[in-house]
């Protein structure tokens, strides 16, 4: 009886310990937010390989999904210091076919399938966007984009080239980003539109965009002459040059 117990314990625990040692590396399948490898001090990106000695530092709202050689997925979320072994514990489990099938039958019989409502309308405008405002003219290809703070630290910035339809997308911590004219998205057009969303994959056809056009310096200066009186008044009131420029941009869409 004793021998049987020992054999049962060995039978149960040895495969488990072997499994833990069998997974020697993981491939980063997807990541969100800031994740740093504390060993190499490098940012962890999709497609990177994690080794057993790696320790990850995840910031708030960050998450990582990694897969092993068999395609089994492991997901870790939230602000934490995550060792390789910690990640292995977060295996994504899936019920077997029988359980999934009868759960499905039960949901169908009891009408538990989620009912979606459809919006018969479209969104126009995006309250988050500050500058450049809609229909702005901009003289500087090194552009700063500002937006309002929503209830998150992480945003997704989209910029579309209206001639080539190319879209540039980047995740940003904070409420501003500066892009430089060398960026390929700026090639081949002077008409662009930009937007920001808190969702990684919003419906781009149904969110508000701010359009802007890049003009040469002379054209923008000429346009600014129309607001000469306003600029003078602002200066008299004690506003600095930068503040005046910012106000003109926000209110009248003429941005230097």
């Amino acid at each position: 009886m004793e021998k049987l117990c020992y054999r049962l314990i060995l039978f149960l625990f040895v495969p488990v310990s072997f499994y833990g040692q069998r997974v020697n590396s993981l491939l980063v399948f997807s990541s969100k937010g800031d994740i740093i490898n504390m060993k190499t001090r490098e940012v962890i990106l999709k497609g990177d390989i994690l080794k057993k000695q790696d320790v990850l530092l995840l910031d708030n709202e960050a998450s990582i999904t990694a897969i092993d050689a068999d395609g089994q997925a492991y997901t870790y979320e939230g602000e934490a210091k995550c060792r390789f072994a910690d990640l292995l514990e977060k295996k994504k489990k899936l019920n077997n076919l029988t359980v999934r099938y009868f759960q499905f039958i039960y949901q169908e019989f009891t009408g538990q399938q989620p009912k979606e409502s459809v919006m018969a309308g479209v969104y126009r405008g995006n309250d988050l966007l500050i500058t450049p405002p809609d229909s702005a003219m901009v003289s500087n290809r090194n552009l700063r984009f500002f937006w309002e703070h929503a209830n998150t630290n992480f945003y997704y910035f989209f910029l579309r080239n209206k001639t080539t339809e190319e879209i540039f997308k980047i995740g940003v911590s904070g409420t501003q980003i500066k892009l430089y004219e060398e960026k390929s998205i700026f090639k081949g057009s002077t008409q662009f539109e930009w937007t920001v969303d808190t969702r990684e994959y919003p419906d781009l056809k149904n969110i508000g965009w701010n359009r802007f056009e890049i003009k040469n310096y002379k054209e923008v200066e000429t346009e600014l002459l129309r607001y000469e009186k306003f600029i003078e008044d602002m200066k008299v009131l004690g506003f600095s040059k930068n503040e005046v420029t910012k106000r003109i941009c926000e209110s009248y869409g003429v941005c230097k």
Binding site: L27, Q72, Y201, L204
Partner: protein, 391 residues
């Protein structure tokens, strides 16, 4: 006595089964012929019970790192060339381009693209058929047709579900391979013997998953990277998957598949062409081919199953008519649930059995017991006839 009863039971069940097939056949012809019923026929035309498995029950957790997708979006040719160069430097096994550079465009970017295409080892390009002619890359790129595969899949019209493809075609004594077959061949997962079995013969696509099964990049993400370890020795496919990854609202190169979250009724195309090719390639790399049980065996199974269920119904009805009337609906529901479960267990092992005849005929058969009983009474009035249900 018991043996005789048993013989009569099975004989009556056989008679009722034949009557069920006759009535079922009549309703099928009626459905086909009557125009006012064609909406019903159309609604079922594209439906297959296995779609419920792919849509609702399939493993959606497991991923693969063997095939990687790169979304080109609306990138220009220069960016595609740069993306190709980045991927080539990662030493993938094969690079497949699910796109056709049909026309010459801006000379500078075209010549850069041409140079990079020429210097990319293990590159598989694409072409398509337009009736009798081949539409392929512009001659200036100098991509030989033998390094390309055709993109065409088997669909009757734009609303049909993409279930099958032809792996190889012989046209004017030329052997042409499908794009995913060519990729699998270049990656070393196929040999000439296996390809010979694909000629002019439709294969059912084994769908492992949609885009979220595969490691995917937007092309802009590649341009900022020097090192992508995942791409080493992987199959990397370039193609269109929306304005950016996660764009589920673009209709370009989007099709219906059994993975559609809505397995019946009106729905939105759910899968990009590139992902269909990825699934086919995965089919070859893992040798997980669908075996379709021949229609003859499906109908034989339907016949035997209907016969058995009718016998069970007759036995219950004979013992207790109330139990039969009350319980027959429960039996029908339970039988359907169990039969579907067995079907999905087979689908999981890559065996597709056409279960629709068995389900419909067995449900109809249980209802036909009553009519068969009346028919037997009618026959018995005129001729000597022993029956289990009325004796």
């Amino acid at each position: 006595m018991k043996i005789q009863n048993s013989f009569l039971l099975w004989r009556d069940a056989l008679g009722c089964t034949l009557l069920t097939f006759l009535i079922g056949g009549f309703f099928y012809l009626l459905l086909n012929s009557a125009n006012f019923l064609s909406p019903i026929e159309n609604a079922f035309r594209d439906f297959n019970y296995s779609d419920i498995y792919y849509s609702k029950l399939q493993d959606s957790v497991t991923k693969t790192d063997k095939i990687i997708l790169v979304n080109v979006g609306h990138a220009n040719r220069l960016e595609i060339a740069m993306g190709l160069q980045t991927v080539t430097s990662q030493n993938p096994k094969v690079i497949g381009l699910d796109m056709i550079f049909k026309d010459a465009k801006e000379p500078n970017s075209d010549s850069i693209l041409k140079a990079i295409l020429k210097s990319t080892p293990n590159l598989v390009s694409a072409f398509r058929f337009d009736r009798d002619r081949i539409v392929d890359n512009h001659p200036k790129f100098e991509i030989p047709l033998k390094n390309s595969g055709y993109l065409d899949l088997s669909i009757n019209d734009e609303t049909s579900v993409v279930r099958q493809f032809t792996g190889a075609k012989t046209i004017k004594n030329n052997t042409l391979l499908a794009f995913p077959v060519k990729v699998a061949l270049e990656a070393g997962f196929l040999d000439k013997d296996k390809i010979a079995k694909l000629y002019d013969h439709e294969l059912t696509i084994n769908y492992f998953g949609n885009q979220n099964r595969y490691l995917s990049f937007d092309i802009e993400e590649l341009l900022d990277r020097k090192n992508i370890p995942a791409m080493y020795n992987a199959i990397v496919l370039f193609g269109f998957m929306g304005d950016s990854l996660g764009d589920n609202f673009s209709l370009e190169d989007r099709h219906y598949s059994p993975l559609n979250p809505k397995f019946a009724g009106r729905s939105f195309p759910d899968i990009y062409g590139l992902v269909i090719h990825a699934n086919i390639i995965e089919m070859f790399t893992t040798s997980q081919f669908i075996y379709r049980v021949p229609n003859f065996f499906s109908w034989l199974f339907a016949f035997i199953g209907t016969w058995g269920l009718i016998a069970l119904g007759m036995r219950i009805g004979k013992k207790n008519a109330f139990a039969f009337d009350f319980g027959i609906k429960i039996v029908q529901i339970l039988a359907t649930i169990i039969l579907l479960y067995l079907t999905y267990a087979l689908v999981k092992t890559n065996i597709h059995l056409q279960i629709t005849p068995l389900i419909i005929l067995s449900l109809l058969g249980l209802e036909m017991i009553c009519f068969y009983t009346h028919l037997t009474r009618f026959v018995k009035k005129r001729w000597p006839w022993k029956s289990y249900v009325i004796d």
